[in-house]
Symmetry: C2
Subunit: 312 residues, 2 copies
Amino acid sequence: MEDYIAAVEQAHRLHAEGKVIETNLIHADAPNGEYHIKTGGLLGEAQAYYGLKANGGFFMNKERHGLPNILGIIYLSDAATAYPLAVFESSLISKMRTAAATAVAAKYLKPTGEIRLGVIGYGNQAEAQIEALLCVMDIAEITVSGRNMEKAAFFVDKMRSKIGISIKSAPIELTCRNSNVLITCTPSTEVLVESDWISPGTFIGAIGADSPGKQELAPELMAKAKIVGDIHQQIIKVGEAQHAIKDGLIAPSDIYGELGALVTGKLKGRSHVDEIFVYDSTGTAIQDVAAAAYVYEKLKDEPSIQHIDLFS
Amino acid sequence: MEDYIAAVEQAHRLHAEGKVIETNLIHADAPNGEYHIKTGGLLGEAQAYYGLKANGGFFMNKERHGLPNILGIIYLSDAATAYPLAVFESSLISKMRTAAATAVAAKYLKPTGEIRLGVIGYGNQAEAQIEALLCVMDIAEITVSGRNMEKAAFFVDKMRSKIGISIKSAPIELTCRNSNVLITCTPSTEVLVESDWISPGTFIGAIGADSPGKQELAPELMAKAKIVGDIHQQIIKVGEAQHAIKDGLIAPSDIYGELGALVTGKLKGRSHVDEIFVYDSTGTAIQDVAAAAYVYEKLKDEPSIQHIDLFS
């Protein structure tokens, strides 16, 4: 995870410096679901990469076929020649890069003093977020919540054996009131977190909202927080920020800045103990490419990896 | 090749019937070249597929790295679940599907009587076009030409040993005047074929022009021919038709129709011996997906093919 965090941080640094190949996306409806293709590239000093994620969102897959509802690949090529380097199943890399990006934001925006982490959500992403945050902060205790408290309790039991930190489940309001780092990572389309539940100085990672209609935080909370997005143009349309903008509580120009600006120092991180920061995460192909490139670099010389010479 | 032709014909039938997943494309500039992603899907009765071609056009690859200038992959997924089925190096399938599409058009639009084939171009695509046309017509003789007559002669020598048909090289004008089926498959950006070199009743496959500026036929020739395109919206922008439209010689509404309409019978094929037909080929993701699906279906049960279970 530490390496994913370094890779994603570097990707956002390159993004802020304009050392990227333009990102883009395609959406296509299929009879049982929809496809999303997200493309982009990174022009690193040592090596340039271009790639894409081609995912389907087929929300009957699990019920009908025992397959994941989100299913697809990440393709990585050498951006110096377009030579195909690797194809990965997309879910693991997506999960890791999303959590890694939150950790990058948290590194710059975390509260001062003892950290009490609250997590709203109990899926794979919740586990990855905890793992990533542990790389960038000491955590005194963790509280987990969600709309289904049984599932939250089950998740807590599973995590307790994995991490050596006090962890318990609690209702959403109590989890929010008890935390100064809060992660929301649910598929919710309505407000889960009210503004007055959040203490001054809190860092919130708003992970769930990444398409039109998805929402976890009260727009009033967004209005009083400093918002850092992964990609400005995305968060104002499909991120948590979409709702506060639609409600007229903030304008796109009120967004504090992008993750890449934080990383390069163009944007100041936390400067006051009472600031509330929201990291608005929508996901981008440059994170996928950075994470896929990290895995590729790590594995390419392993003897167990099969290489195919395309032009032998 | 016969199977590629059947697959591509079926793809255009599905396209004409609206049984497709929307096609789309992304272009991205890289420092040494550019990437093109083309996506689309086919909703066949037995099986639905969605896929994409991610190609780089890096025109120093050969000189600098000994790699093909056009380089990439075709990705195929099951459009019922988005399950990843296969990833192919893109050049072979691209070559075969382009030639197969010409053969489909030629089947409906070929001249009556003895066929004398002329080919302007001597690359891989020229060979594939000859192979494909031989599947849909008897050919009495072949004449090959191009801007470099030495390369044309070399190509003729190579082909002579492969096919049992009289084949020779000749200058472009003579090749045109001597042919009633003419294939142009060069990277030209200027007129190679003049209008008065073409006899009544000729079928022309205009393969080369597939991006802004590329051109092989005189606009006056396009104006007097019946034009059938693979995809109407593409040929008027990037196909051979772009120039006659730009010159004001024809309007987009003068295009006779699409390949899919020919295949389904909505569009009448040849009805008079003197009609000149131009098949304007620009290439589409549905051809790639159809051809990739054909290869996948053919190979998937071969013992030599390695299957990867993504979720074991």
